[in-house]
Subunit: 198 residues, 2 copies
DNA sequence: CGGTCTCTTGACGGAGTTCAAAGCTAGTGG
DNA sequence: CCACTAGCTTTGAACTCCGTCAAGAGACCG
């Protein structure tokens, strides 16, 4: 693993808490580097999530399969995002979601045990994870609000603006399943959006 | 304020972290007791949220008013729940949601300053708030999933089962705005649910 | 080039909205 | 104790958004 990549995690953490060099060293070495090919199932619904991972390169998605068998994408994660079912991970209970890579992906991974001992050794990391959770909660809450108030077209246009990288790298039917609409309807929205832009 | 009430908060915190008696004392005294009548606006959209509050008695709701003027209830909070726009509170940025009491309500309140110094004095509380955020994130995520996969009827029946107290205490149009449907449609769903039950 | 994966298009149907009106219910004042 | 009002809920008709199904058109890969 190139040192330059770990630097991304260092930067990320520094954005939340100030650590001494020693502490930072302890933190960074706690993570395990992993490389996985695209289409790898990192977590299957029903299993207990065994990782909390920082993405160095590549792309993953978290999704939920409902009773009728339809898939709903909970979130996409690109470089410098985290991917995990944190609730399953921390409480060691079965997850209701699945996680898979969409591209070849490089990760820095924490197991429940290493996270627990890391928090013992560097208590400041409690703060970092707390702030991270707060930020994440905010993202999910805003999404919930938008799903309730905006039309599918609004949501699509916002997504386009906010996550152009995801649009470029991810198949459209996954985008649809994130926006909460069928892939056919997304296709029709795109047509309308283009027309409106002319 | 009756000592028995503070006990509720003590129990809540003990559910997350083990504190010494001294630490617990520090924590509990950091909170300020407040009593507010029903229909009190605790936070208005656009303002910075100045409180993180534990509800001792009463009921509040957090809601979002969209561009068209429609209200969407983000969550209800009864006894032993927290109410705040945590992101606005922690980052001291304007909130996009509003918070109001629906009943006469008694609260234990933290200001940003007291929370900050509390975290300095009792670092274990970082952990408590982290775990609390994780739990909350889980709740919101599950709700997002259900909104995407379930019909309005499913969501109503689940709400009925899970939050019977809220049903009893809160007007129906607020329930509708929580479920993401119009109050008229909720009324029709109720009719259908009763019929199906006969 | 043949197959698989992805995206588009159209017809139809159903879930949920909006608008308008009326029916309840619980306080409140006389 | 009744009458009134304000707040809440129900109903119905017309309409819209979006889903499902089915077919076809590209596009990418071995």
């Amino acid at each position: 693993m190139a040192e330059v990549m770990v630097t991304e995690l260092r930067k990320y953490i520094s954005g939340f808490v100030a650590l001494t060099d020693q502490e930072m060293e302890l933190v960074l070495t706690a993570f395990e580097y992993r490389q996985v090919p695209r289409r790898t199932q990192l977590l299957r619904a029903g299993e207990v999530c065994s990782f909390e991972a920082f993405i160095l390169s590549g792309c993953a998605r978290e999704y939920y399969v409902d009773d009728k068998g339809s898939e709903h994408t909970v979130e996409f994660a690109l470089e410098r995002w985290w991917i995990s079912d944190i609730y399953s991970f921390e409480n060691q209970v079965p997850s209701r979601v699945s996680i898979e890579t969409l591209e070849d992906t490089e990760l820095l991974v924490l197991s429940p045990e290493t996270k627990a001992s890391l928090l013992e050794e560097v208590p400041k990391m409690e703060r970092m994870f707390r702030l991270m959770m707060q930020r994440h909660l905010n993202v999910v809450k805003n999404r919930l609000l938008r799903n309730m108030s905006d039309t599918a077209m609004d949501r699509y246009l916002l997504f386009l603006e906010r996550y152009p990288d995801v649009i470029r790298r991810v198949p459209q039917y996954y985008i649809a399943s994130y926006l909460g609409i069928s892939q056919e309807f997304l296709s029709k929205l795109r047509r309308r959006a283009v027309k409106a832009g002319e």
